[in-house]
Structures are given as C-alpha cells and as structure tokens.
Amino acid sequence: MSAHAPAARLPRWMEYGLLPVLNLVLALLVSGLVVVVIGQDPFEALGVLLKGAFGSIENIGYTLYYATDIIFTGLAVAVAFQAGLFNIGGEGQAYIAGLGVGLVCLYLDFLPMPVIIALAVIASMVFGAAWAAIPAWLQAHRGSHIVITTIMFNFIAYSVMVYLLVHPLIEPGQMAPQSRAFAANAIMPSIKGVAAVVGLDLGAAPLNLSFVWALIAAAGTWLFIGHTSPGYAIRVVGANPEAAVCAGIRPERAIMLAMLLSGALAGGLALNEVMGVQQRIMVGFTAGYGFTGIAAALMGRNHPVGIILAALLFGALYQGGAELSFDIPDISAEMVVVIQGFVIIFTGALENMLRPTLARLAARLEGGRAQTA
C-alpha cells in the first residue's frame, strides 16, 4: 500500500533530466549491441527507427496516435498509484469501456455526431470505471489485493468481450469476431482536416480527436491530483494511510475514487481504438497498451507531463519499430519488442541502477560549489 522511498535523492535537473536520458541512452546502447549480433548496422537501424517515428508528418501522426493510447493508460496507472494502488487492470477496463463506446455508436447512431461523441466519452468513462469498481470495493472494504483482482478482471473482460463478439455482437456472415462498422456519424473525427488547414498532411495516420481528449485528461488529472481536496486526500492515503485516517480522510472513499477515476481514464483508450481507428468493436483492440501504460507511468514519475513525454517515447518506439521491421526484415517484429523491452527495463525497472552513482556525483558537485563559495 505505502509508496516506497527512493534510494537516493537527486537534484531536480538530474532526477527529471539527466537520469531518464542516461537510462534511455543505455537502453539504446544495449539494443544496438543486439542489432550488431544479428548482423545489422545499429546506426542504420536507429536512423530508420527515428525516421519512421518522426520522418514525416504522417509518421508523426502515427506516433501521436500510439501515444494517445499510452497517455490514457499511463494516466490511469498514475492516478491509482497516487492512492498507493497498483492498477494492473487498465487493459480490462479499457476493453469493457470499448463495449460502452461501441454500444453507443452501434445503437444510438440516429443522434447527431456531437451528441454521440459526448455520449461515447461518458460511456467510456462509466464502463471503464464500472470495471474498476469491483476490485476497488474489494480492496477498500475487504483488503483484497488490487493487483490480484485487477489481473483477474482482465481475464474476465477478455472472456466477456470474446463471448459478446463471437455471439450477440458479431456482424452476421462475417468471419472475424467483430461488430459491424459504425455509421459515419458515429465515429471519432480525424484530426486530418484540422491539420490540413495549417498545411500539414497527416496522410493515412489514424490520429483523431481522442488525442485532444487525452491531453485534456492529462491536464484534468494534473489539476485534480494537485489542486483539489479529493485529489489531495488520495495522495495522503497513498503516502500514509494512517495519517489520512487521523486527518479525517476515509481511505475507503479515496481508494474507490482513485480506482474509479483510473478506470475512467483507461476507458479513453477505447475511444481512440474503437471509435477513432477501427470504428467497430474488435477482439483484442487493447493490444497490451494497458500494460505499456504501467511502464509509461513508471517512467513519467506518475506526473501527467512526464507521462505525456513517456507516451511519446513509447509511441515513437511502436511506430518507428514497425517501420524498422518493415525496412530491415532481419530485424523482425519480435526484435522490435525486445528493443522496446530494453527501454522499459532501463528507464523503468532499472531506474535505480544509476541513481547512487549520480547521487554521489551530485554530492561532489555540491561539495565543490560549497568550497568555492
């Protein structure tokens, strides 16, 4: 429940600047070694990756599209983490949110587009929150560990959704377990038009208004966590539940609120994938973004700005990685996953590896400054 203390304190510029960059460089270095081992030129590979991620407006559009998913799930993990909870269930919550979004788009498509969009946004939040509500209640009132229950709820979500898509929701005569396509007025509008106005051609990039919603959600999360009393209560519960009780805060309520909000944020993924890109409900549209969100939250230090930056990095890896395996077939799709894994390991899991060294360095710098002062 309680948040762990970092191994060593660093000055801000090291904590938020130098350390993540060093970790990223290390990750790229090790990935480069792997590329060399399979007989390819690592610099060429890096070039392809960067070009794939940022080489054109369309590629940037793809990167931002991937980032959208990861911003949502990253925020979801971060909000829960503020209450000291490790929500592994973003995947399942987003999946069920997809059902909510899909139901709105399938059955309310006689309504005008703005109304449908508003309803779909609400549905994504309500369905996502609802799927988080049971594990949250069990944690708050029965002490069932949220990690276990949310993982279990992921599996239940998979099964429920496959059942619904194989049976009632499937488009008749269609082989793939997926619903019919949404009507033209029941989709999340592309950003393409807006971009074209300012002279940017997004090409085929599936970037849509969900991206804007992700940025709004990030700003809202920042405001809520840092500047409202329920957000404050959540943080106190996460940092010291006993002090929270003493201060008149009810941990059960804070836990419920944090998890509901977390589920609602995870639901944003469904807006992007279901309503924006696939424009139908599909099996497995969450594609593991719920888990990538954990890495993004870890890397972004649970701060909305950090999460956006981390999501951009992961988005670039997804997009650049696809181009990499396309252009250099020897670097297979699995290799790209390995490279992404290195980035996660070095920037997330091993983030304490360089910390002591940097802390010593910081102390020496400080000492030097004190002497000269």
Partner: protein
C-alpha cells in the same frame, strides 16, 4: 542460588552505546548468575532494549565487553549469539505466520537441504522439550492461527530448540492475558529448575517481585542499582526507576476550569489483536485545564486517546463533547470529531501525524483539506496555504521556515512544532495531545510546554498523554494514572514541585491496583 565459585552465565562490563547524540547505554555493568531469573526494570527509554540488543548481536557496543560463562566473546550477529547459547524472545514475534510450528522451529536449523530430516528431528525434540517444560503446542498448527500466548510459546521453543542456555524475554507479558502470563511464569520457573538462565525485561514491578531472583534497575541509559529480589520492595524499585527528577518550573497561573469540554464514561476499547486495552475509563476534561494521563507505555493510554480522536471505535461506553454525542453515534469518525473542533496531535507523529514525503505546506493542510478557507473556485488555493503555513511556521519558530521543504527533511523537533502549530491554531475547544515532546530536543521541549500552557490559559481544554512523568507533572492541573486499562489514581496538582512522584511511580507500576482513590493534597 549460583555458587560463588561459578562464573556468571552472562557478564557485561562497561558497555556503552551511542546513537547520534543520544547515549543509550552508558558504562553498564551487569552480572547474571547461572540458573537464575534476572529482572531488568526501567522506564521507557531507559536503555533496556538497547542493552539486550547488544547482547543478542543486533547492535555492536561502542565500548565494553561481553563475557559468557567467564569467557570474553564477540557477538556480531544473532548467529553468534545463538552459538553462545543465547536465545531471545522479542516483543514482536519473529515467526513466519504461514508456516507450521514445526517449520518455524526448523527454520535456520534445517540440517542440510533435505527438509524432511530437519523436520523429523524437530518433531522429536519438540516433544521432548514440551514434556520437560510444560510447553505443549501442536507441531502441525499454522502459526498465524495460534493465539498470541501460544505464538510466544513457539518463540520460546525456538530458542530452546537452538539449545539456548540463556533466554532473554523482552516485555513478554505485554501481549498476554493474565492466564497466559501465569502460565508463562510457570514455564520460566521450570526453565530455572532445569538450570537455564533467564533475563526478564519488564516495567511491571509485580512480575519482578513475583518471579525473579535478582533485579537490576536502569535509568536514563545507566545501571543505577542491583538488588536481590528478596531484599527489596516494589516501593524501593519504583523510586530507583523514577529517580529524583528535576521538574521544570513555569510561572504557571492557577487553572480556572470552566465548562466540561470532554466527558468519557465507561469506555472500553480493544486493540487490533482483539485484546481489551481500555477497561472501563471515566474522565472529564474542562475548559481551561490540562488533564495529564500518566502511565507506563502499553497500559491503554494510546487506545484511549485514539478512541476519543475518532480513530479507534470503542467497544462500549460513551464519549461526549459539550452536549454532543461523539460515541455512540452512527457517524463515529475522526472527520466528525474534527468537525466538532477537537484537535489531535497523535502520539506517533511519523506514523499518523504527518506525511514525510509531502512538503511542509501540504502537511499544514492535513486535516483542513476541505476547509473553504483554503479553496478558491473549487480548487485548493496553494498560495493561501503557503501563506498560512509560513505564518504558522513563524509563530511556532519552525526552522527552516520553508513551506516547500519536504517534511521528512525537518528535524524531529521542528516536525513536532509544525504539527502542534497546525492543530493548535485551528482554534480547538479541546486539544488531544500524545507524547508532545517525544524525540524532541531540550529547547523545543520548553517551547512546546509554554505553548500548551498558553493554550490552556486561553480557556481551551487539553488532554495530555505522556510517558514522561516530569512532563505530566509540570504541565497538568490534574493527573490521572492509568494502569492495565484503568484509571488507578488521580492527583490534583496545585504545585508541580510538591507532587509525590513516588506515589505516582507506584501507581504506574501497578502496585496499588484496586479502586481509584483521590490523593488530593
């Protein structure tokens, strides 16, 4: 009991241990004769536990020597201690709750990688030890499912299984019911009969008088006396424990008690483990007075304070503030208690009073997070919170006066001043304050004491819980002594210098349990 020619089982010579600026143990000598039960008594913080931790290898002494059976030994860890035949039963048990009794016994003594052999040996030995000392425990029971007393038995068995000849018990009866305690004493007597040496750390003089052969008294890190139990009395020990204390004298105006701010009647409270800690307490606190609750830690004061603060739900009884029922009430909560202008400085500030990872200003907001004064347009107005934090930090001389500094980076005294500032400046009608000066340096102590008195003089009611007797004596207008969950004595203080602290010490040590009598002077 032990022959004069036989060297003592344990001898400590000139042991000193310093933690930072605090001398926890200072030039300690101790000799424990083989085959005896030796008691060590002293107030909280007298250094008993530190001394035993040195003997068991948790800490290394800065100076001094340890002799086992007359030979100088170096004990650098519990493994060394075990090898020298020392076993320890901790206050908090060191058991794997999900393992069986047998598995716990074999833990660390597995006899090689094949568990079966170790377990078989354990089963045989367990039966043998159990028969010898009357320590029967089901070897296949899961430890987590055992009662506390039985878990303690497993701890003792564990030590004996490792062939301990010298057994240290740290406050063994603190967690036990009276029946379990009686049984423990029988076991200790059996151990003595079999030639084992027992060191018993306690602050309960009754137990010392009942079971030990010899007793040593510690006070403020020093060993102040050794006595044969038969040749001393509870009264003498109590006086030795408390010592002649220097009471800080304030220009303390006489209290002018007003209306009743808090009344507690027939309060019963159980702790997390289901043990009854408060056994029917009645008390009142009036506006403009400080009521101090004296007592050795673990006698129910903490639970009493938590119940009044709304953190721990009482089992029975009634708590009223003015004409408002706080308990029983469907919405019994710390939120409601706070809403009725009752402030609370918890005993353990690290655990419950603050959030170390948050900056000072966010700690000033703690408990006030819903106050409209700190909100603008529905959002927390951090500017105003900062200004308020700066003001409070200035009033209470919190250094450094930086509301953005992380709470954990302040010294203990400054943390406590910040918490006091937060609670006292919320303009309460009643302040509940636990251990206000625990771990606080001398200068801050005086500052905090003056502030508490000022609050009293401003007509507020204060309920003070402290294990520091001198603090209780110098601040309180009335002193209630708590022992074993009950109020066993009440003293109205007119002159702090004239309080009979020997009498208080005796009451605190439970030497006159029975009906609470008023010892007015």
């Amino acid at each position: 009991m032990a022959g004069a020619e036989q060297p003592p089982a344990v001898a400590l010579q000139g042991i000193s241990k310093r933690f930072g600026t605090v001398l926890a143990n200072q030039d300690i000598d101790l000799a424990v004769a083989s085959g005896t039960i030796h008691g060590i008594v002293g107030e909280n913080g007298a250094g008993k536990s530190t001394l035993m931790s040195i003997l068991y290898g948790f800490y290394q002494a800065d100076a001094g020597e340890i002799l086992i059976d007359g030979t100088v030994v170096r004990i650098q860890g519990s493994a060394d201690a075990i090898r020298h035949g020392i076993g320890m039963v901790h206050q908090h048990f060191m058991l794997v709750e999900t393992f069986t009794v047998l598995e716990n016994l074999a833990l660390g003594a597995e006899d090689g990688p094949l568990l079966r052999r170790g377990l078989d040996r354990a089963r045989r030995t367990l039966k043998q030890i159990g028969d010898t000392y009357g320590l029967s425990v089901d070897p296949d029971a899961i430890v987590g499912g055992l009662a506390v007393g039985q878990q303690q038995r497993v701890e003792i068995l564990k030590a004996l299984y490792r062939e301990a000849r010298i057994l240290i018990l740290d406050e063994p009866t603190g967690v036990l019911t009276p029946q379990e305690a009686d049984h423990l004493f029988k076991v200790l007597a059996a151990l003595r009969q079999q030639g084992k040496t027992v060191i018993l750390i306690t602050h309960k003089l009754r137990e010392i008088m009942a079971i030990t052969d010899n007793v040593s008294v510690m006070r403020q890190g020093r060993m102040v006396a050794h006595r044969k139990t038969a040749e001393t009395s509870a009264a003498e020990l109590s006086e030795l424990m408390v010592g002649r204390k220097v009471v800080l004298h304030f220009d303390k105006a006489p209290a002018r008690p007003g209306a009743t701010a808090l009344s507690v009647t027939g309060l019963h409270v159980t702790d997390g483990a289901g043990i009854e800690r408060v056994k029917g307490v009645d008390l009142t606190v009036r506006a403009g007075e400080i009521v101090g609750i004296a007592g050795v830690a673990g006698n129910g004061q903490s639970e009493l304070l938590e119940a009044i603060a709304g953190i721990r739900r009482p089992r029975a009884g009634r708590i009223r503030s003015g004409d408002i029922d706080l308990f029983p009430h469907p919405d019994f909560s710390s939120r409601r208690v706070r809403d009725h202008r009752i402030a609370h400085v918890p005993e353990d500030r690290h655990r419950t009073g603050m959030v170390g990872a948050f900056p000072a200003r966010e700690n000033v907001l703690l408990g006030e997070q819903d106050s409209p004064a700190f909100h603008r347009h529905g959002l927390i107005d951090w500017k105003r919170v900062s200004a308020d934090a700066t003001a409070k930090m200035t009033h209470f001389d919190v250094r450094p006066c930086d509301p953005t500094l992380k709470m954990a980076n302040f010294s203990g005294g400054n943390q406590q001043k910040l918490i006091l500032a937060r609670e006292m400046e919320r303009d309460p009608i009643l302040l509940l304050v636990g251990q206000p000066t625990r771990g606080v340096d001398i200068g801050a102590i005086e500052f905090i004491h003056r502030r508490l008195l000022a609050l009293r003089d401003a007509g507020k009611a204060i309920l003070l819980v402290s294990v520091e007797l001198e603090e209780i004596m110098s601040l309180s207008d009335r002193i209630l002594v708590m022992f074993d969950g009950r109020i066993v004595g009440e003293v109205t203080v007119t002159d702090p210098g004239a309080v009979d602290e020997r009498m208080l010490g005796l009451l605190m040590a439970g030497c006159q349990p029975g009906q609470p009598g008023v010892i007015a002077r």
